[in-house]
Structure formats: structure tokens, C-alpha cells
Symmetry: C2
DNA sequence: TGAGTAGTTGAGCAACCATTCATATAATGG
DNA sequence: CCATTATATGAATGGTTGCTCAACTACTCA
């Protein structure tokens, strides 16, 4: 039983009838949807993956609430893992394009990017919804 | 060396001066940022985590491009993993609140939720940015 | 230049994840 | 009912991830 067999039955169920060309047509329009998958999907996915971790999620929400850049030493007391884990987290967030980094002497400041802000906004706008 | 020592030095660096109460004040305002972390952060994170997987990300983009509900048998030929993996993926997406499910006889139809649509929009709006 | 501080990096390990295969459920048509 | 079809589920397993500890770099100031 091939994929197109199943499709054929689906179309017959939906439309009452189905000939070869109907299947081909449907398959073609389905395949067109694949073009909607972005070329740099990997970048998107790594942003999502990075944000899905508790430590990193919390840091982004903190930076977002602060609405200013925060020094690493300001973040440390707010998150309950080792300084090293926070440093790893910030580095991952930076790699994923979710925070910017600024150096000032020995201090290092981080701030959310637009991408992080948009994702946070999307989550906030749809919480408890549907 | 405690956390507050470092904060004290930071504030001294920033403001030229720093007394005990400055540290306490800063710490208090920092701690207030924690309130911005949503109560159901876990739900958010599982949505992000679910969407970060290639198979599930692709399915959401396909559903989003289709702009209509798709039958499982329409999704199968578009994604290069086993039917079982797609079924798992759809089930995970459903659990994460990213797709709705509708039964019609033996066919099962899936469609994106608002939450998925908002996340996709956030990604689309910030791609290649900053 | 050397002691001290802020933050980063890498290895290692336990926990978690994504896929597949095999099997199960549920609906449909003889 | 029985066979068939569409999809779901569970266990197994190879791969990935996130934390901590220890070592490291980079900057400052005396």
C-alpha cells in the first residue's frame, strides 16, 4: 500500500470521486507547502531549543523584564545554578542570537535581541489560549 | 567573596560610589524581575522544546503554509521519517498545544493553533535580524 | 609584574530525547 | 463478525543535553 493509495482514498472520501489526476494535483499542491520551510530552519530551531531550557528561559525573561542590559553578576543571584552554568547559558543564548554581549573592563553585560523579544511576546500573547 | 560583594563593586564602578543601602536597593529591584517569569513557564518551555525538533518544526510549517487542516496521510509523504515518527510528532505537538486534532472516521486532521502561528510569525519576523 | 577578580571553557557523567520496530486500537465495508 | 485500513502507542536504543567541578583567560590596580 503506497502513500498515493491512501491519498486516493482520502480524496474519494472527501469528494465522492477521485481519478489519477486528482491525486497528482493534490500531491503537487502538498509538495508546494514544503517551500514554506525556511532555508535556515536550523537557526530557528536552535533558537527555540536554546530558549526551551529552564535556566536560559529564566535568564531571557529576567533580561526582558529588566528592559536594560544586565551584568553577569546581576544575573547570578537571580538564578539557582552555578556561575559556570549561567555563563554556559549566556554563551548558548548568544550563539542562538537571543542576547547581545558587551564587554566593559571585567564586567560583561547581556541584553535580549529582537528575536528573543518577539518570541517572548508570542508566548505572552498566547498563554492559556485556545 | 559573596554575590553582594561583586554587586557592590559593580555599583561602585557604575556610580563612583556605593553604600550598603545601594546594594540592598539594587538587589531588591533585581529580585523583582523574577516576578516576570510566568507561573506556567513549563508550558512555554515545552512548546519551545517541541517546536525545536526538525520533524515537528517541519510539520508546523507545512500546516501553517497549508492554512487548513491536513490529514495525517497528507503529511506523511511530505516528511522523511516513518509514519510512526510522524504520529509521535503530531501527538507531541498536540500535547504542547501547538496543533488541534479532529477525527473523521479513520482519518485524523491536524491544524496549527494560535500559539504555533504566533511563534512561527515571531521567527519569520526576525529571521536574519540583529 | 603579580595578586586578585570576573567570567569562560572543557571534560565527564547522569538524565533526557527521537527514532524505529512491533504491536495495539478503532473505524469501515464486506 | 472478520479483514482491512489509518493511526496510535510502548519498549528499546543510540544520540544529545545540562549540570558541576576544575582549570583557564582577561582585565585591573597596586
Amino acid at each position: 500500500m503506497s502513500e498515493t493509495d491512501r491519498l486516493e482514498r482520502l480524496i474519494a472520501d472527501e469528494c465522492g470521486e477521485c481519478c489519477e489526476s486528482d491525486v497528482a494535483e493534490r500531491l503537487e499542491s502538498l509538495e508546494a507547502y514544503r517551500d514554506a520551510i525556511p532555508d535556515d530552519a536550523g537557526t530557528d530551531r536552535s533558537a527555540l531549543q536554546t530558549l526551551s531550557n529552564e535556566t536560559r528561559y529564566d535568564i531571557v525573561y529576567l533580561l526582558s523584564a529588566a528592559d536594560r542590559e544586565l551584568c553577569v553578576c546581576e544575573i547570578n543571584p537571580l538564578v539557582d545554578v552555578s556561575d559556570s552554568a549561567i555563563s554556559h547559558a549566556l554563551s548558548d543564548l548568544h550563539d542562538a542570537g537571543l542576547v547581545t554581549r558587551r564587554k566593559d573592563g571585567t564586567w560583561r553585560y547581556y541584553e535580549t535581541t529582537d528575536r528573543a523579544a518577539e518570541l517572548v511576546a508570542a508566548l505572552d500573547a498566547t498563554r492559556g489560549g485556545e
